[in-house]
Amino acid sequence: MKNFRFLLIGMLFGFILIKAEVISWFRIQEMFRFQSFHMYGIIGSAICVGMISLLIIKKYKIKTFSGEEIKIAPKEFTKGNVIGGLMFGLGWAMTGACPGPLYALIGSGLPIIIVPLASAIIGTYVYGILKDKLPH
């Protein structure tokens, strides 16, 4: 299976998310209440490492393992960054999870999280139907 490597990387990511406790409703509350440095340290250091990695990849024109040139599509600004961003923020503080943690939490033995995941899928579906009517 050509995608097997992504299964392994996903496993690693799910593992890290649980051990970092960033998937915890408690930790998200603690973050939004500024009562612990934990989440800020994680997000900040993750961005630093990501940023340095991309600088190195670009500077030395590093290619993928199969020899392709690495390309990253730029993000385009839309009003959705603001409106959708605020909406996601509300949902993040309510469920204590973003999309990645939903998957990891279900795996950790919390079948109840299937409910917010299903609801998130429906939310994406409704966005897809309404897309042309929303400001962008």
Binding site: G10, H38, V49, G50, Y103, I106, S108, T124, Y127
Partner: protein, 186 residues
């Protein structure tokens, strides 16, 4: 074995999360991001006429396999190698959450609030069903989530990602400080 059951400090976990960015690029030119999986699931499973879901989702199947991996990784880390101790929260956080009515601190999430019985209450429906809906609708409208915008986008110095990340945060603060206390009292 201790290191596998104990929670990891931020300076170990954060850099490891950051390494996902180059790892996915090197492994197959993939941009780190999770919320797109929700769109692929719609495209794959829900019959619809909406143009937004008419694309070759199979070409993006790596993303779904990645999500499946996350479930398995979550199972290994959170079930097989579960932390035997309760989560170590700051005292002030526990105090604030006690005020919100949280009683059960034994797991990763407050299981007295997130359980199937609570789906019969207004509070449970708002937190789990409406909250989940906001995640799905909001991330797609915003064009990404914490991984796609806050980590991948900011690592790549994208201004739209900085705006989106600030808005994620603003939404979270608004909910935590001004709305959640009312929801928790329902």
């Amino acid at each position: 074995m201790n290191i596998l059951t104990q929670p990891w400090p931020w300076y170990i976990a954060g850099p490891l999360i950051g390494l996902m960015v180059p790892l996915l690029l090197l492994a197959g030119n993939k941009a780190f991001g999770i919320s797109s999986t929700l769109r692929h699931i719609c495209a794959a499973c829900i019959p619809t006429q909406a143009k937004f879901f008419k694309y070759d989702w199979k070409a993006e199947s790596w993303n779904l396999i990645f999500a499946l991996g996350m479930i398995i990784g979550g199972f290994i880390a959170g079930y097989l190698l579960q932390n035997p101790n309760p989560i170590e929260l700051s005292e002030s956080a526990v105090e604030s959450m006690n005020k919100l009515g949280v009683k059960n601190y034994s797991g990763l999430i407050p299981q007295d609030i997130f359980n199937f019985q609570q789906l019969l209450t207004v509070r449970g429906i708002i937190l789990m069903v409406v909250g989940g809906f906001f995640i799905g609708f909001g991330t797609r409208y915003a064009g990404g989530c914490t991984s796609g915008h806050a980590i991948m986008g900011l690592s790549n110095l994208q201004m739209p990602s900085l705006i989106a990340t600030c808005c994620f945060f603003a939404g979270g603060l608004l909910m935590t400080w001004f709305i959640l206390p009312y929801i928790m009292n329902l």
